[in-house]
Every structure is written in C-alpha cells, then in structure tokens.
Symmetry: C2
DNA sequence: ATATTGCGTAACTTTGAAGTTACAAATGTA
DNA sequence: TACATTTGTAACTTCAAAGTTACGCAATAT
C-alpha cells in the first residue's frame, strides 16, 4: 500500500514521470531498462520511481536483484476524483440552464 | 481562447491554484475578492489567475475596472483525456484477463 | 480635477525540485 | 572467492517557480 504523503498532482506535474507512466502501459520494466528509454541517469529514474510508488501510481515487484515496475490504479483514481468533482459542477450548470429554459417556456 | 503554452499538469500542481479553482465552483469573483479568501498578496493571486487563464482553466470577463473570473472547461478536459487514456489501459487489462479465463474454462 | 479603487507587472529574494557524480549494499555468476 | 550486475542514497549544483514590495495605469467616484 502506498503511503500518500505526496501530492499526486505535484507527482504527475513532472513530464519525465508522465513519460515513465506512459512507458509502463506497454509492459513492466526494471529500473535499468526504464532508464535506457530516457536521456537521464539511472539514479534520476530511481528517484522518480520512488516518488511514483509512494504516490500510488506504480507498484514494484522485486525478483532477485531486479525491481520490476508496473502501473497502480490507486494514484490515478485520486486525479479522476478531482476531475469528477468539476464535471459535476458543469453538469449542475447545464441542469440549471435547462430549468431556466423550461420555466421560460411555461410562461 | 486560451493559448496553452503552459503544461496543464504543472498548472494544477500548485495547491493555491487548485484552491482558487475550488472557490470558483461557488461563484464568479474578481481578483480582489479572490485574494480576500487567501493569506497571500493580491499580485500573487493575479499571477495565479493569469496562469490559470493561459492554461484554459479560467476565463475572465472585464466589467469596468473589475476582472471577473469563472471556470473554463478547456483546461479540465485535457486532464480528463489523460486519465481516460489510462482507464483504457485498465479496461484492456481486465478484458485480457476475462479472455484468458474463458479459454481456460473451454479446455 | 482630484482622489480612490482594481489590476498588472517589473525587480528581487527565497526555496525546493530535479538533475548530476560517487559510493555502498545486495544479489547472481564464473 | 572474486567479480559483475542492479539498485538505493548521500552530497552537491543548478534553475525555475512562488512569493514579496514598489510602481504605474485605467476606470470610477467625489
């Protein structure tokens, strides 16, 4: 379970981290093979993964000396909740508009 | 129309900006009345609004000397698209699992 | 005409995030 | 045992974002 002390929005704000998440939609990768896909040092990737894991976007399976990374729904759902909240706002606005129009039609 | 040179994820990464968006679900406010809701200087709020507007989260209506801010769907939809993309990933994963299970049942 | 109000922006300071290199620990292999 | 591989982390540098104050401009009010 991820200990979400990190701000999920802050976590996905970094373009490199979003690219890592994008990569992980294709397959599971260990730290080294992830860093082969980026022009960045391995320690940098390692830190990003740590952050993504702590925030609940990635989970890690250790096999021998290799740490395989895969996507974790937990972090994404927090972002989705936030978006849903504002979607409700727009829906309510639309509903109110409809009500106004209906009342106008009656009179 | 917003000129989205800004990274929408970077824009919503700031907690103050998210609080501003939250406030704007209640009503429209001008810059001064927004800053009354925060322990921050008015210029700071002004900058945040500028950023939110440029990224398409907020639109502004100038009435006299007052600048009224209201929510704009444009920015939010980009975030939703990103989330939807990963939702597809999970759905595909689920579908594949179902297929595997069905094939196992047949044999 | 003058003062006030609402806002934007320039100039500056501070702080933290993101990257680097160097080193250490743990696992697997010859 | 000795060596290579995979990873984590400490120490450091760099840079940009977020805040401040000070100032100027435009619209409104007196």
């Amino acid at each position: 379970m991820a200990t979400p002390n990190l701000d999920v929005f802050q976590v996905i704000a970094d373009p490199s981290r979003r690219q890592i998440l994008q990569l992980l939609t294709k397959d599971s990768y260990n730290i080294n093979s992830i860093s082969e896909n980026f022009e960045m040092s391995r320690p940098a990737i390692s830190k990003h993964i740590k952050i993504l894991q702590t925030a609940g976007f990635v989970s890690i399976q250790v096999i021998g000396k290799e740490h395989y990374c895969m996507l974790n729904q937990e972090g994404f759902s927090k972002i989705r909740n936030w978006i849903n909240h504002f979607d409700k706002f727009w829906n309510n606005k639309l509903k109110n508009l409809e009500t106004v129009l209906k009342n106008k039609a009656k009179s």
